[in-house]
């Protein structure tokens, strides 16, 4: 089934304007992250130029320098890698936890489901950003704690989605058939239900990545970023006090965050449309 669905999905994505737009933007950002360091070699932390140089003022630093004379172009490129990495890893964590909770709850139902969903609700009722701030502040701010915190606050939505899918698929004939021929529970979940429940999870995870990148930027803005790593949020946080004198220090990485988040959102929406059979038939 999957072999025949793949070309169909790609085709559906390519004709979906938002998905195609998102994919192109994302490809550009990825290219920047990968080949950028070749164009702007050198340490993004190097304080080599005069501080607060405006973009275009000196072509040695085409995008200007921050408050301590660090090249913004090098910082943005380094930030692209860090921000994308943080978005991906924290989304993997969120998807992992969410899928586990949703799958078990949806499959077993009853009291298991009740307990798991109460836990999920507990996390849903606390504002996710506040929880992330608390988690990072309690542990020491670093890339690892930021990734973990964002993962921990982002999983409930995935859990709900997976649970709904499982409740739906649990009663379908092919699952019952599998049960009848004596498949064990893990096999049933992993080989029968999960593959069919995943497409919307993937669409959702794309949106989670966007949210994670935003959250990391916000955490760094509040001074809860990793002081050893140059992410977009780090640059924004460092430029915050000079907003009136040198807005571009916050503005350029801010634009980078907006574009990246937009790319992931477009792609996520497109995936959602492409994967949703009801919408497709319309």
């Amino acid at each position: 089934m999957s072999a025949s669905a793949q070309p169909g999905l790609l085709w559906r994505l390519s004709v979906n304007r938002s998905a195609a737009g998102g994919a192109v933007l994302l490809a550009l950002i990825l290219a920047l992250a990968i080949i950028g360091p070749l164009l702007w070699p050198g340490d993004p932390w190097e304080m080599a130029a005069p501080p607060m140089l405006w973009p275009g003022e000196d072509m040695a630093n085409p995008l200007g320098t921050d408050v301590m004379g660090r090249d913004l172009a090098a910082g943005l490129v380094s930030g692209a890698r860090v921000s994308l990495m943080i978005g991906l890893v924290s989304t993997l964590i969120a998807a992992g936890i969410g899928t586990l909770f949703g799958a078990l709850g949806g499959f077993y139902g009853g009291s298991v489901d009740a307990v798991l969903m109460r836990v999920t609700e507990l996390f849903q009722t606390v504002p996710s950003f506040v929880l992330a701030v608390v988690l990072v502040a309690v542990f020491r701010p670093s890339v690892a704690t930021a990734v973990l915190a964002i993962g921990i606050v982002s999983w409930p939505a995935t859990a709900r989605l997976v649970r709904a899918q499982f409740l739906l698929l649990r009663e379908r004939e092919f699952v019952l058939a599998g049960e009848t021929i004596g498949m064990g529970t893990p096999r049933l979940i992993l080989t029968q239900i999960l593959p069919n429940a995943l497409p919307p999870v993937i669409a959702m995870s794309t949106l989670t990545i966007a949210h994670a990148i935003q959250t990391e930027a916000a955490l760094s803005f509040l001074g809860l970023g990793d002081p050893n790593v140059m992410s977009w949020g780090t640059i924004i946080g460092g430029g915050r006090e000079q907003l009136a004198e040198a807005w571009y220090v916050c503005g350029l990485p801010g634009i980078a965050v907006v574009v990246t988040v937009l790319a992931f959102n477009l792609l996520g929406e497109g995936l959602n449309d492409a994967l949703n059979p009801h919408l497709q038939r319309r």
Binding site: D43, M47, P51, M68, P227, N228, E241, A244
Partner: protein, 527 residues
Amino acid sequence: MHRRDLMTGGFALASLPAIAQPTAPVRGGTARIVVEEPPILTSAFITTMNIGMVSSKILEGLVSYDLELKPVPALAESWETSADGLRTTFRLRQNAKWHDGQPFTSADVRFTLLEVWKKLHPFGRAVFANVTEVETPDPHTVTVVLSAPALYLFNYINTYGAQILPRHIYEGTDILKNPANSAPIGTGPFRFKEWTRGSHLILERNPDYWQAGKPYLDGIIFRFIPDAVARSVALEAGEIDVTIGSQIPVTSLRRFSDASKYTINTDDGRFLASIFLAQINVRRPHLGDRRVRQALSHAIDRAALVRLVWQGYGKPATGPIPSSVAQYYHRGNPQGFDPRRAEQLLDEAGLRRGADGKRFRINLVSGSGNSLESNRAGEFIKQSFARIGVDLELIIEDSAAYLRRVYTDGDYDIMTSSLHKLPDPTLGVQRLYWTQNIIRGAPWTNGSGYSNPELDRIMEQAASEGDLARRRALVNRWQEIVQEDAPILDLVELTWTTVSTARFRKERPQGDGMFAGLEDAWLVPAR
């Protein structure tokens, strides 16, 4: 007259803005000043700076300090010390009155010294440790009797260090809980009127002030604006007149560089003699070796640090005493920027570069409550160390965890902090190096674990030396020893900025201007 003279003269006149011409003080007007909101309004037993910035307008000390940090009469008219250095007599103002009408007398000074400063003030305990008796032969004479000479005493008796409280309000009460702490009754130029917490605090003119004709201002309104950007905007919009205590971030100061509109005073905080420093934990591997500490010192370009992080507001530090403390500053032999020498020293210490170009890895701990500049300086130091092959991990902890890590657990390699060295090394510097001050769990003590019996002896001798020349010689030797041993890398002599509109004037420049009474301040009327 030459033509050139005419031209330059004309130019000077034309470029001199009308407002900057010397003007005679004007009576009237209310100054709107921004400070960080203080928890209480009495500095007599607590060193919190923003308390001092407000309370100094209401309560006074025996002296204030000029730009050279020499004492200037305040409530004490004059003073003299006996030849053996054991008796110091202060003559007090005869016409000073408390805000409730009671006369100010020697009994107030005796009470505050013995019951408040000596017992409750964190530094006062050390400053007045040698005081055995306070004699009050008449209402306007106080004689302080000492068990050993204490020259440092004269360097900490302004309204911030030793604020005089009214005996008739405080005697027999729980001093720390006295309601007057939040609604003080003082002798100062301004009387407390109203405090709306979270918003503002109003002081009004004291009509019975002992300096005839002063204060010039009708009153002062202190406003509390927590956001730095909002403070800059308020000053630009003319909603406030003055910000005290570096309330405008250094990176925003260029917006106030037009001297016809604004004044940036960088002398008001000389008294605090603050230095941004990196303290090294000498108990850690490698860091116990003096050569390694010297190498780290040689790795840091202090001039670039001042330029990049403090935007030029500050001075490269050369040793434990800042150059503004002219009486005791000694340049000695600073371990300044010399990366080649640094690498050489590390090689000699057997810490050669590995295959990856790195020698060893250490961490640098700072507090999230520290200034923005301090965290930026951490990034600067990391870059500096990377160039000599030392890998530095930056760790930012919240304030409590930072203090615990440094002073209780000793779990750090390097820490950064901005510390007040004060105008006397016995008060502000000895605490950081003295072996007896290695006290587990006590913040701002000797947290590096450095111990040098020779230096201990010199510091103890300096404390009780009554002859200024001999004391200076001891303090010079002291500075040379800690430069050589480098348990603490003194990096930047910090500048405290008072940013005001150019309309705000003050007759007398003060080294402790952050804690000035402002009886001599006025506002040039707007035209």
